[in-house]
């Protein structure tokens, strides 16, 4: 008491003139530490009292501190670090720091969160700022280069196609290598869920602007809590929630434009006509009247010279608007958002529209209960006229637009001079002046104008939870969530030209409803004993039930050609189809974490899963992961050695465990089935599935070791990890000898493979001054994938592209999905023939048209050779998985200007540029201008053989050749953003808290030797064993956007 008195006395003295203990008025301005802009709406409180105010529009406040109270003020503002400042003067200006950094210090693990510093698992976190306001359809498209060990490839330029995501390499052969995606605790649907030619990524239902963070669990210590589904890594998506404080309204909008880029240069009508006639003459079949290519004039008397790129592609435009309201009181917080984006892609009629809303509420009732939940709904439209030819399985589709744009002859037009569509037959474009040969497949103009292949997704993702905080250190929580994904498809094929014109038009509709519920119950205990022993225990039970049902119908032959709807009249009998699928996963899991003095860490996860798809004796599996950590910087010797002056932290960590994979396994994979059909009007029963009652989950044994360090109070941080994923019992569709005659390829847990690699992430706060800052972030990953065993006696398997081209081979001892080609060695200068290398190493030359009695294949000495075939002469030529990949991110700020540039790269891999085979094919197909270099005279050194009409062998159409394989290495300036934050004076007028305007560009530059449109490509989508194939795919576009972000 006496001391207090003394203290007060001293204080009073110190304050000097204001001798009396009376109320004091303090004024000041609160600004953003980052850019100095004023912060309105900041709560200014006298701690422990009810006295408080808020900053005004210019960030200015004035508060009266009551007599006798503490001489401090507490500044609280959503999204910023709270500061408590001692009152030393009557004018107190305060700068608040954005708490993005503090957010990154928390990691969302399965069924909970952990301080990053306490983590022993390998987890990468991508925060909101990397995801908002990007010209993408789904957040996963924006993850490229943002996290070590996570390889993202956007495989084509079709809107809303799911990117290829690989966490630490390809971790499955026959099942999916796509990670488990958990949104706010509920494992959600993934992949392309559209049933139409327009892609429909299930994850696009989430507005990227609603995402708070994406945490990627990579090793067993982090991921094992997801047991049988964690082998491919786990992405945990956490959506935003409200924080205590004044309601904040945010508005984000952008507009953008996308253009095609790096398209192969094609022959024009004049060049085409000349080249094809030369090819006919070389083949000896040219005949002006019956077999020739000829120019004709259009209605204006000019020769028709169609650039089919102009017909198929367009300048895409897009816009996005999101608004959110967030706030909260002491007990309740809320986040509500709505958004609409309308995007038009580079392919004509390929559109994407999404309307979405999210309402999230968390409430604390009394001292014991917490409750809350969310309702998230989105309606998406994935629209297309017809197949792009770019999604998995579409590469060789007759109507694939990527292919039509390059195949169709330039000397014909979409329409005849009388305005009607130019058609030859129901499925081919009209020949116009050309004689004796088709000049294309479908008329691209007709199908683009008249066809339709649309998808609509309605996606509801909601949950409710109730948590009881039984004791301060013990809580129990139950969460029930639903994920309903409804997919509607509507397509129409016109009666004039295209897929159904022969039958005078067709329409189809189909509907699939996927319904999932997940019920999770957990008990969590967190206690610290004797100050230094911290223990955290989690016990849980979870059930996940998914049921899918679908129905579709098709109608053919329009009664009246004026209509194009499913409901119109059709004369042919309708067709229909139906589908049903169900599965159930029930799990019990636990996590125990312990640390001693934040110095030594141990975490163990264990999970038992039972899954319905496995055979009767194999339903149950137990998975676990154990991690250890050691914070060396806390050791006494560290300080003694003076290392603490440099390293603010230095933590070693390591983990080991076993997790599984079931993603992509058939619901009834363990059974063999006979299914019904029809023969002459009566029922048939035929073998339909070769099952395996021993089927079980795939096993991934994950080892991880590394360290995290921070230098100079974490101004510079580094994370390093070495990992090895040993994959055992991989399910393999054991290829059976075709003559064995099994109805389907049986699956067995028979293959094995490993991925090993290293990851390095470097972050720095290189420069941070009031006016200028520079924050570079760099990551690089190296991965090596090796198949170690397939089924017994099998050393390799081949994967086809679009069921037609066998360009991918996987061999034991090598990586998945190598390019499978016959080696070629240029063109013989003497004869202009392509030189192929036989399996015995001998050179064989090919000439498509030979005089009667001669063979097309001959050795160099002119003697007849047996033909080249892929089976006999093909070889595993080059790898398609990048050895190195990663990103380099730089953020600059100068006063109110900011600049961010993201570079991504993938190095050390090859691509089979199958499109190039088509671009040089000597059937009627239009060609690359490279064909102008074709061999014409002896001693001419060129890589293009002499042209013979009909030749589909010399340039790789008949079977893949090494001449069409190129290095795919690329460094891409994926995005660059340049922004300006409006000054406070201006904001005040607009009654805004903050506002930033920006322009950005995507895919602006890239460095690559790859000759195709874009080395970031996959004609086979997420396929594990046929990556690195570019066959008639539409490349990614180049996008510019401009936008505004404002807070009120």
């Amino acid at each position: 008491m006496r001391r207090q008195l003394l203290a007060i006395m001293l204080l009073v003295c110190a304050i000097g003139t204001q001798l009396y203990a009376q109320a004091q008025t303090v004024t000041g301005v609160v600004t953003d530490k980052a850019d100095g802009s004023p912060l309105p709406g900041v709560s200014v409180m006298v701690p422990g009292s009810k006295t408080g105010t808020q900053t005004g529009p210019t960030g200015r406040y004035s508060i009266v501190i009551p007599a006798g109270g503490p001489k401090t003020l507490k500044f609280t503002y959503i999204g910023y670090i709270t500061q408590t400042v001692a009152v030393t003067r009557a004018t107190l200006d305060v700068t608040l720091e954005n708490d993005a950094k503090t957010l990154s210090e928390v990691v969302v693990t399965g069924y909970g969160t952990q301080r990053k510093k306490d983590m022993v698992g390998s987890v990468a976190t991508v925060t909101a700022e990397d995801l908002v306001n990007k010209p993408v359809q789904s957040f996963d498209q924006a993850l490229g280069g943002k996290a070590a060990g996570v390889q993202i490839t956007i495989p084509n330029g079709v809107l809303n196609n799911p990117p290829v995501i690989r966490v630490r390499g390809i971790n499955s052969i026959s099942l999916s290598s796509y990670p488990l995606i958990v949104v706010d605790g509920i494992a959600t649907y993934t992949g392309d869920v559209s049933g139409s030619s327009a892609a429909g990524n299930a994850l696009a239902s989430i507005n990227p602007n609603d995402i708070e963070s994406v945490d990627i669990l990579k090793d067993a210590a982090a991921a094992a809590i997801y047991g049988s589904r964690a082998a491919n890594g786990v992405l945990i998506i956490t959506t935003k929630k409200g924080k205590k404080g004044k309601p904040v309204v945010s508005y984000d909008a952008w507009v953008g434009q996308t253009k095609i880029m790096n398209m192969p240069e094609l022959l024009d009508a004049f060049q085409y006509t000349e080249l094809k006639n030369t090819a006919l003459k070389n083949a000896g079949t040219y005949n002006a009247a019956t077999m020739s290519f000829n120019l004709v004039n259009d209605a204006n008397g000019n020769p028709i010279n169609t650039n089919w790129y102009d017909v198929v592609y367009r300048k895409g435009t897009a816009h996005s608007n999101s608004v959110s309201l967030a706030g909260g009181s002491e007990t309740t917080n809320y986040y509500f958002s709505g958004g609409y984006t309308g995007q038009k892609g580079i392919i004509r009629k390929n559109d994407y529209n999404r309307a979405n809303a999210l309402l999230k509420i968390d409430h604390k009732e009394g001292n014991i209960f917490n409750m809350g939940g969310k309702i998230q709904f989105s309606n998406e439209q994935n629209l297309a006229a017809t197949s792009s030819g770019s999604l998995s399985g579409e590469a060789f589709g007759t109507g694939g637009l990527g292919r039509l744009a390059i195949v169709t002859a330039p000397n014909v037009a979409v329409r005849n001079n009388d305005g009607t569509y130019n058609v030859q037959t129901a499925s081919t474009i009209g020949r116009m002046g050309n004689k004796g040969s088709d000049v294309g497949f479908y008329n691209p103009g007709t199908v683009l104008d008249l066809d339709r292949s649309n998808n609509e997704l309605n996606h509801l993702q909601s949950n409710v939870y109730l948590q009881a905080n039984i004791l301060p250190w013990l809580n129990a929580k139950t969460t029930y969530g639903v994920d309903y994904l409804l997919s509607d498809n509507d397509s129409f094929n016109n009666p004039i030209n295209g897929g159904s014109a022969a039958s005078l038009g067709s329409a189809s509709e189909s509907y699939t409803k996927n319904k999932r519920w997940v019920w999770t119950n957990t008990i969590q205990a967190d206690r610290t004993f004797m100050a230094k022993h911290s223990v955290s225990l989690l016990l849980g039970n979870e059930q996940q039930r998914s049921v899918g049902r679908g129905f579709g119908a098709g109608r053919t032959t329009l009664s009246d050609l004026a209509f194009n709807d499913f409901t119109a009249g059709y004369t042919a009998a309708p067709s229909n189809s139906a589908s049903f699928g169900e599965n159930y996963l029930v799990s019990f899991f636990s996590r125990l974490s312990y640390d001693f003095d934040k110095k030594y860490f141990v975490t163990g996860n264990i999970r038992q899963d039972e899954y319905s798809a496995f055979g009767a004796g194999n339903k149950k599996g137990i998975f676990y992961g154990v991690g250890l950590g050691w914070e060396v910087a806390k050791e006494a010797f560290w300080e003694k050695a003076g290392l603490d002056k440099v390293f603010s932290s230095f933590k070693f960590r390591g983990s080991y465990g076993t997790v599984g994979n079931i993603n992509g396994l058939g619901n009834l994979a363990s059974y063999s089935f006979y299914s019904t059909g029809l023969y002459a009007g009566a029922s048939t029963l035929v073998p339909s599935q070769t099952g395996n009652d021993q089927i079980a989950w795939e096993e991934s044994r994950k080892f991880d070791a590394g360290f995290n360090l921070g230098i100079m109070n974490d101004k510079f941080t580094a994370e390093f990890a070495y990992y090895k994923n040993d994959l055992k019992g991989l399910i393999y569709n054991v290829p059976q000898i075709p003559s064995v005659g099994l109805p389907s390829t049986p699956q067995a847990n028979i293959a094995s493979m490993y991925n090993k690699g290293v990851e390095l992430t470097l972050n720095a706060q290189a420069v941070a001054t009031k006016n200028f800052s520079w924050t570079p972030s760099f990551n690089i990953s190296y991965n090596k994938n090796v198949v170690t065993a397939l089924s017994e006696g099998l050393t390799q398997f081949i994967t086809t592209t679009s069921s037609l081209e066998s360009a991918s081979i996987s061999r034991v001892g090598g990586p998945l999905g190598m390019i499978y080609v016959v080696k070629t060695e240029g063109v013989d200068p003497a004869t202009g023939r392509r030189i192929f290398i036989k399996s015995d190493g001998r050179k064989v030359m090919y000439q498509h048209v030979v005089p009667a009695g001669q063979f097309r294949w001959s050795y160099e000495n002119g003697t007849d050779a047996t033909g080249i075939s892929l089976a006999a002469d093909g070889s595993a030529y080059k790898n398609t998985q990048p050895k190195f990949y990663g990103g380099f991110d730089n953020s600059f700020r100068y006063k109110k200007f900011d600049l961010n540039a993201t570079i991504t790269y993938q190095l050390g891999f090859y691509i089979y540029y199958g499109t190039y085979a088509g671009l040089r094919d000597q059937r009627f197909w239009n060609n690359s201008t490279d064909m102008l270099q074709a061999w014409t005279a002896p001693n001419q050194v060129t890589n293009i053989p002499k042209v013979y009409f009909g030749d589909n062998v010399s340039n790789g159409s008949s079977f893949p050749i090494s001449d069409n394989v190129f290095k795919g290495d690329f460094v891409k300036l994926r995005s660059i953003d340049f922004g300006y934050s409006l000054p406070g004076s201006f904001l005040t007028k607009l009654k805004m808290a903050s506002a930033r305007v920006y322009v950005s560009g995507n895919n602006l530059l890239f460095v690559t030797k790859y000759p195709g449109s874009d080395p970031e490509v996959s004609s086979n989508g997420n396929s594990t064993s046929s990556s690195g194939v570019d066959r008639n795919s539409v490349g990614n576009g180049r996008t510019f956007t401009a936008g505004i972000s404002a807070k009120f």
Partner: protein, 482 residues
């Protein structure tokens, strides 16, 4: 109070949660599991399986169209109007490799059907016979053997050297006679051509005594095997093997000695007076000994496998003006020429006119006219003469479509001329029905060139298909055609 509330909630959660065991063992809602041979557990399922064997034969890659298409397009009667590899251009152009769709998919389709037959034959012995009774079981097993024989015979026509080449000593096919239902090691080398033919004949002999003499409906008598179908097919097999006297023996079982030539036992197979009736709905005349049924709406042909899509509907291949339709001896008034339809100046075969989307024309496997011409050729060749009955058989086929032409012995200077006349008659009669390539190959004749495609002599590697690439990779004992 509060505590009670909490505990109640926790207990409720614990009880309801946990696990719903029944959801862990789902059962199919639409397919029959093979546990306990359930596919043989009822007569309806067994009936369904027999028809399923035929359905295998009818698949698009096989008799649903493509098998016939390949045998036509690799010969000389058609010209490509498209260069799409998916619609057999490589077969047409002789550029099929081991991995070509034609090569791999027909191979798989035929063997898939063979395995169905093997599984069925074994399953009937193990369980089916006890369910359905001996008599019907015998019928059904006979049908299975007939279908297996058709499969092996068809495979031989494309993947093996013709029988004449070394009397069947050349590499034939892996001969699989046991049913496979699970993954396993099934490496198997090729039997010789002769060994496979021996099996084909053994199956057909056993089928002949197994299958019913006749069926209750014309539809069944056209779409399922009866005794005459087995015998008819045997004439084709023996003819392919150049075993002329065996052809005569078999054919005589179902061809009367004198005109009008008809089958005297079993189904009353006979030539139809009007050729066009055979290719028109309901497609079930007694001339169609065995055909593959298609039904608009429910059992439609495939868009890229149906005959119509190649010849007429999508017009992928036109008739070659210098092929058989250019033959002067085939008169303009011949009824069979009504199936040559011009689009502009380009002739197309309109024998199978029902196009997209139904493609509902039946696909003929064997017709009575073929038996007559097989018999005619065998009679002539076995006697090395312009055999009188053979001449009558030839006239029977020609005469019903072209009454104005009557061949006499005087028309043929040598027996060879007579053989050629019979071959030409077959070429005309079965245009588009998939007989052309086997007809050339069985005699070692050069496949004539067409358009820009050169002729293929019997010594050429292109004379037959290469072996399926996937078979070569996975069957360690398999060898390619070289």
């Amino acid at each position: 109070m509060k505590k009670k509330f909490i505990y109640t909630i926790l207990m409720a959660a614990g009880l309801v949660a946990g696990c719903q065991k029944d959801l862990l063992t789902p059962e199919s809602k639409n397919a029959v599991s093979t546990l306990d041979l359930a596919q043989f557990s009822t007569t309806a399922r067994i009936d369904g399986q027999v028809l399923g064997l035929y359905a295998g034969l009818r698949s698009g890659d096989f008799y649903g169209g493509r098998y016939l298409i390949y045998n036509e397009l690799r010969a000389d009667n058609f010209l490509a109007q498209s260069s799409n590899s998916v619609t057999a251009y490589q077969t047409y152009n002789y550029t099929v490799g081991n991995g070509a769709q034609e090569v791999t998919d027909f191979w798989s389709s035929a063997y898939n059907t063979i395995n169905r037959c093997n599984l069925f034959i074994e399953g009937m012995a193990a369980k089916g016979t006890s369910v359905i009774g001996d008599a019907i079981s015998k019928n059904y097993v006979g049908e299975a053997k007939f279908i297996r024989a058709v499969c092996y015979y068809s495979l031989l026509q494309l993947y093996a050297r013709p029988y004449y080449d070394g009397n069947g000593a050349k590499p034939g096919l892996p001969l699989r006679l046991t049913g496979n239902s699970v993954a396993g090691n099934y490496d198997l080398a090729r039997s010789t051509v002769a060994q496979v033919y021996t099996q084909v004949l053994k199956d057909l002999d056993e089928a002949e005594t197994g299958v019913p003499l006749t069926y209750a409906t014309a539809l069944a008598s056209t779409t399922r095997a009866h005794r005459n179908s087995v015998i008819a097919f045997k004439t084709r097999v023996y003819l392919t093997m150049q075993r002329w006297t065996d052809v005569v023996t078999e054919a005589n079982k179902i061809v009367s000695t004198a005109a009008p030539f008809t089958a005297t036992t079993g189904v009353a197979n006979a030539l139809q007076a009007d050729y066009t009736k055979v290719f028109a709905s309901p497609y079930t005349t007694t001339e169609s000994i065995f055909s593959m049924p298609f039904v608009a709406g429910t059992e439609q042909g495939g868009g890229q496998s149906a005959l119509s899509s190649y010849y007429y509907g999508v017009k992928l291949y036109s008739l070659n003006p210098t092929g058989i339709i250019g033959d002067a001896g085939w008169k303009a008034t011949d009824k069979r020429r009504t199936y040559i339809t011009y689009t502009g100046a380009i002739p197309y075969l309109s024998k199978f006119p029902t196009g997209s989307p139904t493609y509902a024309d039946y696909v003929p496997v064997i017709r009575y006219a073929e038996v007559l011409l097989n018999l005619a050729e065998a009679l002539a060749r076995s006697t090395t003469s312009v055999n009188t009955r053979a001449l009558a058989l030839l006239n029977a086929v020609r005469g019903r479509s072209d009454a104005s032409t009557v061949f006499t012995a005087a028309d043929f200077a040598t027996p060879g001329d007579f053989y050629n006349a019979i071959l030409k008659e077959k070429n005309i009669e079965f245009l588009g029905e998939g007989l052309r390539s086997p007809e050339l190959l069985r005699l070692g004749l050069t496949i004539p060139g067409k358009g820009t495609v050169s002729a293929v002599p019997s010594t050429s590697i292109q004379y037959i298909f290469p072996i399926s690439a996937t078979e070569l990779i996975y069957n360690k004992l398999m060898t390619d055609n070289l």
